[in-house]
């Protein structure tokens, strides 16, 4: 659907095209600017940053800030860079995404194909859980994690992310399976297939797209989480986002903007990579989380 450039004469249509394209290019440049500045700054030396122009390309690009951010930068009392925190995040994200996705798939399956009285209420309660401000559960969660000895551990964070990701994963799979024809399920039942066999043989093989959407959505959300990370972990157990914030906001010593920016790019790389490889699915996940299929 496009309404422009058809009711107007050829000359002004041409002008309109030029205006549209220049506006779009200008806006695109504005959106790219912070990333550009982040990248160029990370390749500059501190002297060049202090004396030079933020928008200029690095005169003498070097990986120095990158290696320092990865292996030597001081975060808190340790000076071993962000690599440990990067791995913390990986160790947190992978199990949390897998567990919440598997549970979400099974929940969605039950809530669409094995309905019981009250299934709507169950789904409604799980759905609302997606939207609560997590501030409303922070204090009890901190207590409970402490009681079970999971405070300040990756296991604790995995648990927290599974718990508060369940609503979204269930929502995604429920809406996807809702559209899956019931007749196929019924036919399989008549053939004597049981609960898990139907799921495994009939639903799962056609769930590819929604699995990708869910994994990407969960991966992005959990990797980018800050609130849970900062509340339930500290020191060497922190995830990447918390370490980045500690690095950037620390006020001791010389402020190394190039190292800050390199660390920020490290924190952004995994999600940016996923976005570039599977952007289509990323957007679908966002939309499904927002508009509800």
């Amino acid at each position: 659907m496009s309404a422009a450039a058809e009711t107007v004469s050829a000359g002004s249509a041409r002008t309109a095209r030029i205006v549209i394209y220049s506006l779009l290019v200008l806006l695109a440049l504005v959106y790219l600017l912070p990333l550009y500045v982040m990248l160029t700054t990370s390749f500059k030396s501190l002297a060049e940053i202090r004396g030079g122009d933020m928008l200029a390309l690095p005169r003498d690009p070097s990986w120095e800030a990158w290696t320092k951010a990865w292996g030597q930068a001081c975060i808190g009392v340790t000076c071993e860079g962000i690599k440990g925190y990067f791995w913390n995040s990986i160790r947190m994200v992978v199990p949390a995404v897998l567990i919440s996705t598997v549970l979400g798939a099974l929940n969605g399956y039950v809530l669409t194909k094995w309905r019981f009285p009250g299934h709507k209420l169950v789904f409604g309660l799980m759905l609302f859980a997606c939207f609560i401000p997590f501030q409303a559960v922070l204090i009890p969660m901190a207590r409970v994690l402490g009681i079970f000895g999971l405070a300040n551990s990756t296991t604790g964070l995995v648990f927290v992310h599974v718990v508060y990701g369940l609503g979204f994963t269930t929502l995604f799979f429920r809406n996807y399976y809702e559209a899956f024809p019931d007749e196929l399920i019924k036919a399989a039942m008549i053939d004597g297939a049981g609960f898990f066999k139907i799921f495994w043989r009939i639903l799962l093989p056609s769930s590819g797209p929604i699995i990708v959407v869910t994994i990407i959505y969960q991966f992005t959300n959990i990797w980018n989480d800050f609130l849970f990370g900062v509340s339930f972990s500290s020191g060497a157990e922190s995830p990447m986002t918390v370490a980045l914030n500690n690095l950037v906001s620390s006020s001791t010593g010389v402020k190394e903007y190039n190292v800050d920016m390199a660390a920020a790019v490290f924190a952004a790389l995994p999600t940016l990579f996923v976005y570039i490889v599977a952007g289509r699915y990323f957007v679908r996940g966002l939309m499904a989380g927002a508009v509800k299929g």
Partner: protein
């Protein structure tokens, strides 16, 4: 049209149901039960726990003697809390309206049969993939009064250019708006673009044949048809605005002073650093009420529509 009578299902007689058969019928519920139990305990149980704490005198550790609305009185007598509410109002209004306006504007531009759409779309959307902490870090540097945008403008010859919003008490909240809009407006654009693609082209063609100018077609026909998208965008953005925490922490740390305090930062600092757990809980309850007021009617109407 003839209606097909449902075939009566002949249930085979089962004198006693075996254990496995009973397990079979219960299995779906057994599979769902852990998730549902987790939700009940860790979401609703914890919310009740937080509400309970807000009626106590808890300070550094939770205590469980009820003292009524004491924490709420203290909350609403904190200048900091008023600052947080005022900032949320400024941030919320600007964030939602700017994201919507810019998102719609770019979506309309993108809907003009653009050649490079596949190239442009990801450029507007990639900020959404970044963590708020990364966004905050990037903008903190970009808007750095000494070395960032200000210095760049000076280098370009605009000597009198001044941009100190990050350290300016009155303006700091607007830096959060700028970074927030940069991050989320592309997503709103994608929502509007999907909405625009869903509009029936015939209606627009008819208007064009009638000789309506492009601008009027958008204003009178297309934009009103996007009402559901406006609603969705509003819900998503309002929800994100109330929950905003990471961005503020990374960009301004709530400062200078308390200039960019939001309810989320207020809750965190009162609970975990200022040892005012009851007041922190009360502020969390306020945030929950705010979000509930927005989300529940929306979810209710969405679930109802599906039924009909």
């Amino acid at each position: 049209m003839t209606t097909i009578e449902p075939v009566p299902i002949v249930t085979p007689e089962r004198p006693r149901r075996s254990f496995t058969a009973r397990l079979g019928t219960l299995l779906p519920k057994i599979v769902l039960a852990p998730s549902f139990a987790i939700t009940l305990i860790f979401v609703y149980g914890f919310i009740l726990w937080t509400v309970y704490l807000s009626f106590t005198r808890s300070r550094i550790l939770p205590v469980y003697d009820l003292v009524g609305l004491d924490a709420y009185y203290r909350l609403w007598s904190q200048p900091n809390w008023y600052m947080a509410i005022k900032n949320l109002a400024i941030f919320g209004v600007l964030y939602i309206s700017l994201c919507t306006a810019i998102g719609l504007f770019i979506a309309i531009l993108m809907d003009q049969r653009i050649r490079a759409e596949g190239l442009l779309r990801p450029i507007f959307l990639y900020p959404m993939a970044l963590s708020f902490v990364v966004t905050g870090t990037a903008w903190k540097w970009f808007l750095n009064p000494g070395l960032g945008l200000e210095k760049t403008m000076h280098n370009l010859g605009w000597e009198s250019f001044k941009f100190d919003w990050l350290v300016n008490t009155d303006m700091a909240i607007y830096t959060i708006v700028i970074a927030g809009v940069w991050q989320a407006s592309g997503f709103v654009m994608a929502m509007f673009l999907a909405g625009l693609r869903g509009i029936d082209g015939e209606i627009i063609k008819a208007a064009q044949i009638d000789g309506a100018p492009v601008f009027a077609i958008y204003r009178r026909i297309i934009i009103p048809m996007l009402r559901p998208v406006f609603l969705s965008a509003f819900i998503v953005l309002a929800h994100m605005a109330i929950k905003s925490y990471d961005l503020v922490i990374a960009l301004t740390g709530g400062g200078p002073g308390n200039a960019t305090e939001l309810p989320s930062t207020f809750m965190y600092s009162y609970t975990f650093t200022r040892s005012q757990m009851a007041v922190g809980s009360a502020s969390a309850v306020m945030m929950l009420m705010g979000i509930t007021a927005i989300i529940v009617p929306y979810l209710y109407s969405e679930l109802r529509e599906k039924r009909s």
